[in-house]
């Protein structure tokens, strides 16, 4: 029998054909119906992620790395965390994609195609640290609401694009401008087309920095879908939610941007510190700007058994939001004594810095290696949890790994 009589009646049939399964009666499937085996797609294949990545949430998709997966100096896609507030847009056509600059403080409302952006403005590439504001949330007590990130919601990839400043200036920035807000193509979980899942922004000064990009490439290739294809705002060193994905609009505002997830307890912390568990009025919450100093031991993986007299090489990354990291130290005696690590300069401003050290252990036993970074202003990571806040942001407590000398 001619296989083609059964397959090929519908697009689904063709699709099924390509994976070696015929959907008998595929022509009778109602439009819009997706067969069971195509539902609930494998996120690892869908997003090309390593099998050791951890899914925190599948609607919306949220996935994090583990410390040892982040050992690369430049984070590849397969180890990059995914954070979504809404649904990833479907059927993106880069050839018809546009970016509109508008807002109270824009001299002209201007719309650019992707090609126009690429042709008209000079491209730049920077390696930029993007950390979710809620990275480390799982450790707060009392627990904070949201995805329970551990340590893996951070990345530092190369981003290529045009400077947001150049585009804003082309449209014209009026003297009363104070903030920019982004608009994007992702859709609200409730299905309400009038709701934006997230529309955040940054003060004008951050928007005008050299390294603030409207990026169309990540690590030299088109940005992967889950990370914002075809256009992403990248504001390194700030909560990654400021780096909007699937960007189709930037509003130049004469007030602090008031889009979704700019108010309430979203990406905001008490302006004055509070005792754990305190209810804080919206009026007393302040928007998070630069992320705090932090570090991660990415090698070895926690749980290593080493022989007595076997020196151990450790390495990892440290970052400090807008600032440089001045020093990284390690401790093998629960913070009683600290030893300075070798620390490299950043590839560029707002990129993480690499550290390494060789450790000799005095005798057999259980050890924890703690890493502590200090920023250029002399501010270090705390060894226990930093100030509690309602949504569990900004946990920059020392990273720890467990080692046994046997």
């Amino acid at each position: 029998m001619d296989r083609r009589q059964f397959v090929g009646k519908s697009a689904l049939g063709v699709l099924a054909g390509t994976i070696g399964l015929d959907v008998v009666f595929s022509h009778k499937l109602p439009p819009g119906y997706v067969p069971l085996y195509l539902q609930d797609p494998d996120p690892y294949k869908l997003f090309k992620k390593d099998s050791e990545m951890v899914v925190l949430n599948d609607k919306p998709w949220n996935m994090e790395a583990q410390a040892h997966l982040l050992n690369d100096k430049i984070t590849p896609n397969k180890y990059m965390f995914i954070r979504n507030n809404g649904k990833i847009p479907e059927n993106i056509d880069a050839s018809t994609w546009t970016l509109t600059i508008d807002g109270e403080s824009a001299t002209n409302k201007k719309t650019y195609s992707l090609q126009e952006l690429k042709n008209k403005f000079k491209p730049y590439t920077y390696q930029l640290t993007l950390e979710c504001g809620g990275n480390g949330r799982s450790e707060f007590d009392p627990p904070a609401k949201g995805n329970q990130w551990t340590v893996g919601a951070v990345s530092c990839a190369n981003w290529t694009g045009v400077r947001l400043r150049d585009v804003l200036q082309d449209a014209g920035v009026q003297s009363d401008a104070v903030y920019i807000g982004y608009h994007a193509a992702d859709t609200h979980l409730s299905g309400d087309p009038n709701k934006e899942p997230i529309s955040r922004g940054v003060p004008l000064a951050k928007a005008m920095q050299d390294e603030t990009l409207l990026a169309f490439q990540m690590n030299g290739k088109d940005i992967p879908l889950a990370h914002g294809f075809p256009l992403r705002l990248v504001c390194g060193g700030w909560p990654a939610s400021a780096s909007g994905k699937w960007i189709n609009g930037i509003s130049i505002r004469n007030q602090v941007h008031d889009g979704a997830k700019m108010g309430g307890s979203s990406y905001r912390v008490p302006c004055e510190s509070v005792s754990p568990g305190t209810t804080v009025d919206d009026a007393n919450m302040c928007i998070i700007e630069s992320m705090p100093v932090k570090s991660l031991i990415t090698s070895p993986k926690s749980g290593a058994l080493i022989k007595e007299d076997q020196p151990l090489n450790i390495n990892g990354h440290a970052w400090a939001g807008e600032l440089q990291v001045a020093k990284v130290e390690y401790s093998i005696d629960f913070g009683s004594s600290w030893h300075v690590c070798h620390l490299e300069a950043a590839a560029n401003r707002l990129a993480w810095q690499h550290f390494d050290a060789q450790i000799d252990f005095p005798k057999k036993g259980y050890y924890e290696i703690w890493a502590k970074a200090t920023d250029q202003n002399g501010i270090s990571q705390p060894m226990v949890l930093p100030g509690w806040n309602p949504k569990g942001y900004l946990n920059n407590a020392c990273h720890r790994i467990a080692i046994k000398v046997v």
Partner: protein, 150 residues
């Protein structure tokens, strides 16, 4: 003459009754439409929402969703997994006040509907099975897997 009058009365009554029925249907319908419960809008061309049809429970866990099997689980699945995954619920730990505040926030900003009588059931279920446990200022590492590093 009387017969003609009776027929006219009957016709008129019938006519008025018909109007009354139409009137009731029209306004009843309008009233019902105006007071209909909010429903999530179906989106064409989208992958159909996950239908939880398998209610297998193993070791007290509802396998399809990961929820703890207890009174109120069904209402929680029906009301709390339309927009987001069950995982967003099961990875969180909150007091009753915390869960209630989360429901209010979703109703105010995220289009969550009025939970009616189910709210009490859901709040009791969540605050019992997903209550916070004291963690202190820093937890143990609890390393369970060890490997030889060459």
């Amino acid at each position: 003459m009387k017969k003609g009058f009776d027929t006219s009365v009957r016709r008129l009554t019938l006519l008025l009754a018909s109007f009354l029925v139409l009137f009731i249907i029209l306004f009843g319908g309008l009233f019902h439409w105006a007071n209909r419960p909010p429903q999530p809008k179906p989106e064409p061309d989208e992958i159909l929402p996950e239908m939880v049809t398998d209610d297998t429970v193993e070791n007290g866990i509802h396998l399809a969703t990961g929820f703890v099997d207890d009174t109120g689980m069904k209402a929680t699945i029906q009301n709390c997994t339309n927009c987001h995954s069950a995982k967003l619920v099961t990875q969180n730990r909150m007091s009753r006040e915390g869960w209630e505040a989360t429901i209010r926030w979703m109703q105010e900003t995220q289009n969550l509907w009025d939970l009616g009588n189910n709210e009490e059931l859901i709040l009791t279920y969540l605050s019992k099975n997903y209550a916070p446990q004291a963690k202190g200022r820093r937890q143990n590492l609890n390393q369970t897997e060890w490997y030889s590093l060459k």
